[in-house]
Amino acid sequence: MIRVLGVVGWASIAVLVLTFGLERFLASKAVLAQRVRLPDANVEALFGGEPTPIGSPQTYVILDPKALLPDKGPGGVALLDDGCLQREGSYPLQLKTVEFVGGIVRWVAAGLAGLCLGNRWFLLRRRARLQRSREGS
């Protein structure tokens, strides 16, 4: 039992550290970007070349920069070509999703680590006390 508690407790701490590391890594790849649909030639000819925004700007984790357009949007926001994302079948991960899931994992892992390692410490202390009392008697 003590061994199981130890393994689960230390594994939870490892998950905590790994989650933190993964979150930092993904955050380093995050870019505030606006998904856009590029105008086709017919629209561009009549109404100008302004792309159609798809949703509002979001902080996306961009692992493959293929869909990033060289032009910037209002306020220097990067532009993501929605057509390219669809062709690639890629749906970019949002940093808020990473943080949301990371937060839950961190709380669960911290809770589990505290519970397991706390119980392990309590059991080890009780065992030592019992051993001492046995040796004393």
């Binding site: 017919n42 629209v43 000819a45 109404f47 949703g55 808020k96």
Partner: protein, 201 residues
């Protein structure tokens, strides 16, 4: 009697003149437009933002350029909304959500159009969505391009109009309830953006 008849004829003539001043623009695939329409719905929830896109828009837009007013009716195919995740699309169409088998379209019909400034108009109309009809008011940008060699070269037929705008919609106002399991993943209030084209030819 004769006076009444003359008055009636005059009113008819006025109505005919008013109609002839206005133009009817057809919207959608059936209109043979060389560009696609775009309607997006964005949900901003704690877990993520997602945007559904559809090009399934059809209808008519009537514009009276002289009076700076107009009217219109647009129909959106809800089953064609793509959120980028097939499983989410499936959930969205299910009876627990939009129930697209029972309510396949959302329909917006204008009740008043007032010119605001430049190309901007304040439009009030009835939106029927998920079996519920409610009145909404929003500002739209309408740009009218007269038929020209350039418009013909771009494969448009007749005069062309582009109408853009956005409004927010509370799902519960239309009887769409977010199941407990999806709370935090789907926003209660979503933003609808539209960018539609119409042509007279």
């Amino acid at each position: 009697m004769q006076t009444t008849f003359k008055l009636f004829t005059a009113l008819l003539a006025c109505a005919a003149t008013a109609t002839s001043l206005g133009q009817t623009f057809r919207v959608g695939k059936e209109a043979g437009l060389p560009v696609s329409q775009t309607v997006t719905v964005e949900s901003d929830a704690d877990f993520e933002n997602f945007t559904g896109i559809t090009h399934g828009v059809s209808g008519v837009i009537r514009i009276d350029a002289a009076k700076k007013t107009g009217s219109g009716r647009l129909e959106i195919d809800l089953a064609s909304i793509d959120t980028g995740v097939p499983l989410r699309n499936e959930h969205m169409r299910s009876p627990q959500w939009l129930d697209t088998a029972k309510y396949p379209t959302a329909v917006f019909e204008t009740t008043s159009v007032r010119h605001k400034a430049g190309d901007t108009y304040t439009v009030t109309g009835r939106l029927t969505f998920h079996g519920v009809t409610r009145t909404i008011t929003t500002d739209v940008e309408a740009r009218l391009i007269r038929e020209s060699a350039q418009s013909r070269a771009a494969r448009f037929k007749g005069d062309v109009v582009r109408v853009k705008g956005q409004f927010r919609l509370r799902l519960s106002d239309y009887g769409v309830k977010i199941p407990e399991i999806a709370k935090g993943k789907v926003a209660e209030v979503v933003t609808i953006r539209f960018d539609v084209f119409g042509q007279t030819g």
